[in-house]
């Protein structure tokens, strides 16, 4: 099924991704040894409230444990 993309949302998402990419670039310039993905994921998580970050982490952590069994 083809997903319908709202043009306004797509433009907004694109601007957000651009801003994120710029911020990642600045951090990597100051910390060249840092991993791009780790920095990007941290910046994305910092946009969420702390308890939501923990919620995501627990869901993923428990799912990983289930798959390991």
């Amino acid at each position: 099924m083809k997903r319908r993309v709202q043009p306004i949302d797509a433009a907004k998402a694109s601007r957000w991704a651009q801003r994120l990419s710029t911020r990642v670039g600045k951090i990597l310039a100051a910390h060249p040894d840092a991993d791009r993905d780790n920095v990007r994921h941290t910046l994305i998580l910092l946009e969420q409230p702390p308890l939501e970050r923990l919620q995501r982490s627990l869901i993923r952590g428990r799912a990983t444990a289930i798959f390991r069994k």
Partner: protein, 160 residues
């Protein structure tokens, strides 16, 4: 009011009773790191208590139908009962100072009307480097990068 994510009603109640009774504890480990933005996964929430022998703790746990189970032959110290399954007790933090010193390195995370003390990302990283178990080795680079990112964000928001 519904319990805020990620806690159930009973888990939230346990934390709130500990805070209300002014029990000195803090969230440590990867759950503390993730609260501060580190992209790591965890299965539980580690709590470090200053003094597990304190009566305030047993009274608080009793109030919510939970109990402290001291370490046994093969079991570490643990909490049991209502709302306690999510929480693990930590009795030793490698590479860190005494609780009274480390509590100064905490950040505060709002939990309803109260505030939860959470060990700073910098100190979590220090403890993981000191512990240096295979599972710590996997998270050290991620925590290091997360610290670089969060410090940059903090510096920027201070400038504004």
């Amino acid at each position: 009011m519904a319990a805020p994510l990620p806690f159930s009603e009973s888990e939230l109640r346990l934390l709130q009773v500990l805070l209300k009774r002014k029990v000195r504890f803090m969230v440590v480990g990867l759950s503390a790191a993730t609260l501060q933005g580190a992209p790591v996964v965890t299965q539980d929430v580690d709590l470090w208590f200053e003094n597990l022998g304190e009566q305030k703790i047993s009274r608080a746990l009793q109030e919510v139908g939970a109990a402290y189970v001291p370490p046994g032959n093969f079991n570490p110290p643990m909490l049991a009962g209502a709302g306690a399954e999510l929480f693990d007790i930590v009795i030793r933090m490698d590479g860190l100072g005494a609780f009274a010193d480390e509590i100064k390195n905490c950040v505060e995370i709002p939990l309803g009307r109260q505030k939860l003390k959470v060990l700073s990302l910098e100190r979590i990283l220090a403890s993981k480097i000191a512990a240096n178990r295979p599972k710590d080795k996997l998270t050290i680079p991620v925590l290091r990068d997360a610290l670089a990112a969060t410090q940059t964000v903090k510096r920027r928001s201070k400038k504004k």
